[in-house]
Symmetry: C2
Subunit: 364 residues, 2 copies
């Protein structure tokens, strides 16, 4: 994520920032430790009260038999797909062209597990039932990411999920949920995590997106699956002697924020409306379905950087620290609403968008 100097610097100096929970600094960990008894014993290689209690809690929350704590989702998800492939004796899986495993993991799935992905749907839209039915080759497992982050955090309707799940069960295809942002979509679907997870054979959730922990992931499923995942966790080098810094922070921030997902979702919709009123600006999706969305500008990146920096310097409110170029005439960035949004005075936020609209109109 390359930052323009002026934009990044101006963003850092703002009093209020629109996205996220706060700075990623050591205070995040200090806050957690204040709550804990110093004598609390460490977990040791996956055993002990700290890890077992949290795993049980998450298994129950997700409605799965068992859950295993992992240092990262990258590790957890490769392992989930590997287990399902081995079970079927077929090293082929289906997922979206912009799946995390395809674009952010240096091809770990292929290089370490020799699993071939079949890319479903076009990269600019969601996977539909027809895409799954239309797959030409056998696959051991289908991965669905909810919401589909790289296209702004979009979601299929719930009936589509149910029909894909039913189809996969009928065909003996295991269904895995990339639920990096599962907590964030519960208000939109008006479902519990367990209800959504019941459609899937295995589930991964993350604790440093909407939850705002330091790092860490949970992989959940039935006991055979999770027991095998522990063996692979050791093979990957993820069975650390102690994972408690991540576990206790995951637990702490889960408790602190799980009930705020509805608020973040409502705030995301409110913010998207403000963007969509501006010329040459649109959000994807137009109405967010979680705490996240992408903001697209039909404007050259350099010009917009200069406009945004001016806005930050004038209003003290920062929208983003970076922009990504799509073409010479278009750019975008990603918003994830967290605790920070509620602190911004509404009147001043309105000013930001008035100014944005004025300055954009001025250059056209």
């Amino acid at each position: 994520m390359k930052e323009d100097n002026r934009l990044g610097e101006a963003f850092k100096k703002t009093k209020y920032q629109v996205g996220g929970h706060g700075e990623r600094d050591i205070q995040t960990l200090k806050e957690v430790l204040n709550d804990y008894d110093s004598q609390q014993e460490s977990d040791i290689y996956g055993k002990g009260k700290i890890i077992e209690d949290f795993q049980s809690k998450m298994a129950e929350y997700l409605g799965k038999e068992k859950a295993v704590f992992f240092p990262s989702g990258t590790m957890a998800q490769q392992i989930a797909l590997r287990i399902w492939c081995d079970k079927k004796g077929l090293k082929k899986v289906g997922y979206h062209p912009l799946c995390h495993l395809e674009i952010h993991e240096e091809d770990g799935l292929k290089e370490l597990h020799h699993i071939d992905p079949i890319l479903l749907a076009d990269k600019n839209r969601l996977i539909q039932l027809e895409d799954v039915v239309g797959v030409k080759e056998d696959i051991a497992c289908l991965l669905l990411e909810l919401p589909q982050r790289e296209i702004g955090g979009q979601l299929p309707d719930y009936q589509t999920l149910e029909s894909i799940s039913a189809y996969c069960r009928e065909k003996g295809i295991k269904l895995h949920l990339d639920g990096a942002r599962l907590f964030e979509i519960l208000p939109y679907y008006k479902k519990s995590a367990a209800e959504i997870c019941s459609l899937f054979d295995s589930v991964y959730v993350s604790f440093y997106k909407g939850i705002g922990g330091i790092a860490g992931a949970i992989l959940a499923g039935d006991k055979d699956f999770t027991e095998e995942s522990k063996v692979w966790k050791r093979r990957h080098g993820g069975d650390l002697i102690s994972l408690y810094p991540y576990i206790i922070s995951s637990d702490y921030y889960f408790n602190k924020r799980i009930h705020k997902m509805e608020q973040y979702y409502e705030e995301a919709k409110e913010l998207a409306v403000l963007f969509n009123k501006c010329s040459y600006v649109s959000t994807k999706p137009v109405e967010p379905v979680s705490n996240m969305f992408h903001v697209h500008f039909d404007l050259p990146k350099e010009k917009l950087e200069s406009i945004l920096a001016t806005i930050y310097e004038t209003t003290g409110i920062g929208l983003t620290s970076y922009l990504r170029e799509i073409s010479k005439e278009a750019c975008y960035y990603e918003v994830s609403i967290g605790d920070r949004f509620a602190n911004i005075p509404k009147k001043e936020l309105t000013m930001v968008f008035q100014l944005l609209n004025e300055l954009i109109s001025g250059i056209q």
Copy 2:
């Protein structure tokens, strides 16, 4: 590590324990954080001051061009061997039969990297130059573990190391150091870490053995090697968004204990003398070459457990929480000297060994 109930319980209740630095509890992390500014920014995916400063510090200490922080040694070492194998286009490595990769990693090296190990030497002794010269097949890389933990922490003489290193360079075999306990052997060799590491192409060190951190490892080598290791770190799922809880604790306890390795080594020798004076007890090695050694008993495990529990209850000093059975008539355990040893009153420690000798003699 299965604990007998009485032995484990009696050990927990002792006032003094002979091995280790202290309890593995959350205080270990709290102590570190007291030192740190709350506003200190987190590392983000391998970038940022916290991780870069520590990597530079360790590269310099180990005398290597670059160093990379890893969540675990399991991950770091598989990756090191993979890089050397890929470089040579040969998926064969040599190591000791009791190498960590062979017995503690669920065959990750084979299952994830498809690398075949050639086992050198007999499992009860160290690898010598002749073992390396005598290898029948070509290997891309040789791994040496210093000290060889599973045989009590033994070391070859320094000339053997130099001759193996020279031979490997001549034959184009990369030499990798499993230096999980490298810091602990510097007093015996009377060498700097950089001097020893200069014999190796790549080096792994751990921060939760003698150093007493929470978890974490460093992999060091030349820049091409470490840059490639970062790609594999991401593939393994080890490129966490934030590793700082492990980095700051590694740094803190490195600074706190690196100068105490000589003390631990002297104390280990002192303790081994006490054991070797007892009937049916011997240490391996007879004279320790680091802070660690194994204590062997020519006695049935159950009888010894009862004796040890009695000693703990009588003296308030705990030697070990477990014993491992070798045969019906023999068992052993591992000692690693840390901060705790210095706190034990010498007079009471002498009593422990008088009692041990008496009770053992009583059952024979």
